[in-house]
Amino acid sequence: MASLVGSRVERKEDKRLLTGKGRYTADINIANQTYAVFVRSPHARAKIKKIDISKALKASGVVEILTGEEIAADKIGGLIAGWAIRSEDGSEMKVPANPPLAKDSANFVGEPIAVVFAESLDEAKAAVDLVKVDYKVLKGVINTAEAMKGETIHDGIDKNLCYDWLLGDRKAVEDAFAKADKIIKVDLINNRCVPNAMEPRACVVDYNTASEEITLYTTSQNPHLSRLIMSAFGGVAPENKLRVVAPDVGGGFGSKINVYNEEIVCSWASKKIERPIKWVAERTESFLTDTHGRDHVTHAELAVTNDGKFLAFKNETIANLGAYARVFGTVTPTYLFGPCATGVYIIPAAYTNVKAVYTNTAPVDAYRGAGRPEATYTIERLVEKAALELGIDRTEIRMRNFPTEFPFKQTLVHTVDSGDYVAGLKKAKEMSDYAGFEVRRKKSEANGKLRGIGVSSYFEACGIAPSAVVMSLGCGVGLWESSEVRFNPTGQVSVYTGAHSHGQGHDTTFAQIAADELGVGLDVVDVVHGDTDKGTFGMGTYGSRSLAVGGIAIVNACRKIVAKGKRVAAKMLEVNEDEIDFKDGEFVVVKSNKKKTISEVAFACYLPGSRDSDFKSPLPEGEEPGLIETSFFDPSNFSFPAGSHIAEVEIDPETGEIKVEKYTAVDDFGKIVNPLVVEGQVHGGIAQGIGQALHENTKYDETGQLITASYMDYTIPRADNFPEFNLGFTCTHATSNPLGVKGCGEAGAIASPPTIMNAVIDALGGQEITMPATAEKVWKACKTMKKSNTKAA
């Protein structure tokens, strides 16, 4: 039987999703449901003096209006930060309370203050306009770099500082800097991005008055985790009375990790008003209240020798957390960032210092890549600048500092188990015709255009494990994953996973894995996920962990099934277990070639007897009937995908418009389960990263109003902004899991911003420019360049 793992199987879920048959949260309606609309703060920072709901309560169709008073009285807990981070001085991070409905003060535009439930959406909306909130407007703290100098947002949190964190050795770095031939410096802004999942957030809550069970349908990347948080911290209901279902989810990119205010409020209120509740965000609500990504201000330096050896690295970053610390908000700029700061290079001394600040803006949390894009952008800008200043080819300087032996113990944290960075960069150079660039540059020049080339080599740490390590670093939960595999009596297989697919294609790739392990056809395997009532507890999908952690739990559960099957087959075939081989779905007696298929064995496991068998069971003594196995997999290490990307851009100096002419990506994701799905992930990631580099400009004005809160002003890149992506792969197997796989979901978004920005800056003759490199900024840079060229001439 040909192996399914490794083949370009078309996505099973696409037929359903592309023909409009997906079932998203907003598609769910429950008889007698009410519609929720939230009263949101129009101010970035204000004291809430009084809320008058009297007029709104009398409006047509209104069922109930609830505020922060009621939710506090019912002792419903708030939103949480999932990782505890310690400052350099040993003190614990400072986290403000984040109630689901703000009671005393509002801290960002869009923060929920109250909620109206009505018989129709229109009536709920109309009543929201009648709720009168008396605010005392205060001066907001908006700017990341200035946040520590602003007024104190949260009582007791001095300088708006959550923590001042250090990873690395300052002294070693300073010593190395003293010996350097040259010090390369950059000042960078990693621009804030709005994740913009295609499906806005939504929830539908159904409270069963008889069983007292709450069912929450919601747009979540991790329904089990959401239930745990809502139960343990929210106190909404005990876990056994709370079912969380995340049906089809239309993209997350990190923004659907958190349990949000609306989910907690609607779950709590459904029980209170004894009616089902439906809430669906409008697009502008999503812009205002989904967790955002990035938002770093960084100063970084790289100490080098004249022949291009890296000696030491330092990074001083201010990271904006927004108004509150959320689930991965505090870890994204620390342990997901600092350990990756030195990139794919041998750098003997390094440190990263991060000051995380609160501001009166939407909370910032994980966004595709989470911390690793920020780290990669910093080191890859430094390396490119070092190449320019030292006059060494940009690929050569990288090669000189790549490790060539693996496992590679980095200076800071990670021991990278496998990789071949040299092979990746070589392949990328060939595929992109790096050598022919100067000819293309001249050709562009002849047309009055500026052409630039940019390279970035990256690695990332994904999978985020093992649990004991992440918990010792402050994580509130263990980051293993689980699976339950049920081999049904009549031969089909249901694979339950704690991971969650919201675009990743698990229905297909996980089925490929299980089908190969069990030797059955792809058509009889179904992947089930997204429901706390179905299958074992799981941690969900983020951090490119689904395959490298969740996929392995499936492998292990399948292997337990085969192991049991072998014991049963041995009994049925009347031989010893060690005389049997399992291959292509058959248990074969090596000597006699007598065999039983896995389906026959499964059937026997459920129906262990027959009319003429003289009471003889096919099951060995002590073996339980049934064929269901469970596995919880906790890997021994992160997985470390890596690669090199090369881009070419062409600039029209008269308009400042940038055209991405060529984009080549060579990635090492270890063993690839489905190239088609992986290419899709890489395409999406690159597109998202180019979006950050050139287009996406989240802009708050000085009063904290988000002025890019719709697609009329926030630029999402479109297909015509991209060239055909040229993809290649190299392969070194991960050693931390039996499949040898590494994560692939975030790599594109990690590698592409520096690749593109390096190319843009190259086209501009080394002139620095901030992301997003919009046409006007580039036009201005071109003017400056022209002026200095004229002067030089």
């Binding site: 229109d122 008269e654 308009t655 400042g656 418009e657 287009h695 400009n697 802009k699 002025i707 890019t708 697609y711 009329m712 002003d713 926030y714 630029t715 999402i716 919009t774 046409a775 006007e776 036009w779 201005k780």
Partner: protein, 261 residues
């Protein structure tokens, strides 16, 4: 959205009669429906004019192309006759928004709405268009008053727009990266006796740039306007483009338009 009465008259007279101070004509709905959905505007009566047959269609005569008010952008883009007589007008229509917008949005709606960054008003200005309404004919240069404001009176309905066929013409747009409306749009038309450079997106309302038009009237080459610096004091400035940038784009795209003619 607040509730309203929906009307679908079959002729212009009925449509006009139905209109009041709290009514709106509904053409493609690409602007009007979002503004109603967002609660920016509310109406008692919505008068759908799409079923008035007379308002739709394309007619070509000796020296002009007349386009019915409810003719869709997609129809103008794909019309063989317009592609032959005024190719730049088809190009303009084909570059508006996206396929969905082009399949619903109309010429009349675009002009009546007079968005400062809409494309069609510049074509009207450069092509010396005459706007035919149910009770008069208005020259384009007298039609567009200020942003989102025209000389149309309450109940006055655009029936058709008559564009003069130029010797040469071209439309160039620097799109807003997010919405793809014009940050700057240049409609250049060379008529027998004059050259018109109409500019949209740059100021609060579409206008003919006199300096560019004059320079190109005497010499129809991009070198005639090379290096020209425009006064940016009245130009729009927003997160997508400052006034200075817009001023520079006007000249750049005017040059591109000449070169494309």
């Amino acid at each position: 959205m607040k509730t309203f009465n929906y009307h679908s008259p079959k002729d212009v007279k009925t449509a006009s009669k139905l209109s009041s101070t709290s009514s709106i004509f509904l053409a493609g709905g690409m602007t009007s429906i979002p503004s109603m959905k967002l609660g920016l505007a509310t109406y008692k009566d919505v008068i759908d004019i799409k079923n008035i047959k007379k308002l739709s269609g394309i007619k070509v005569s000796g020296n002009s192309v007349t386009i019915g008010a409810t003719t869709k952008h997609a129809e103008v883009a794909s019309s063989k006759e317009i592609q032959k007589k005024i190719p730049s007008l088809s190009k303009l229509a084909g570059g508006i928004g996206d396929a969905q917008v082009r399949n619903r949005g109309t010429v009349g709606g675009s002009i009546a709405n007079n968005d400062p960054s809409a494309c069609y008003p510049s074509a009207c200005m450069a092509l010396n268009a005459i706007i035919h309404t149910n009770n008069r004919k208005i020259e384009a240069k007298n039609f567009f008053k200020d942003m989102f404001e025209t000389v149309l009176k309450k109940g006055e309905l655009i029936e058709a727009v008559e564009f003069k066929i130029p010797e040469k013409s071209n439309y160039q747009k620097h799109p807003n990266p997010a919405s793809r409306y014009a940050i700057v749009g240049i409609y250049l038309a060379k008529h027998k006796k004059e050259v018109n450079v109409a500019v949209t997106g740059a100021k609060s309302v579409v206008y003919i740039d006199k300096d560019l038009s004059k320079a190109l009237s005497s010499s129809f080459f991009s070198s005639a306007i090379e290096g020209m610096e425009l006064d940016s004091s009245e130009m729009n400035s927003d997160i997508h483009a400052s006034a200075d940038y817009r001023a520079s784009l006007v000249v750049t795209y005017a040059k591109k338009a000449v070169e494309a003619c």
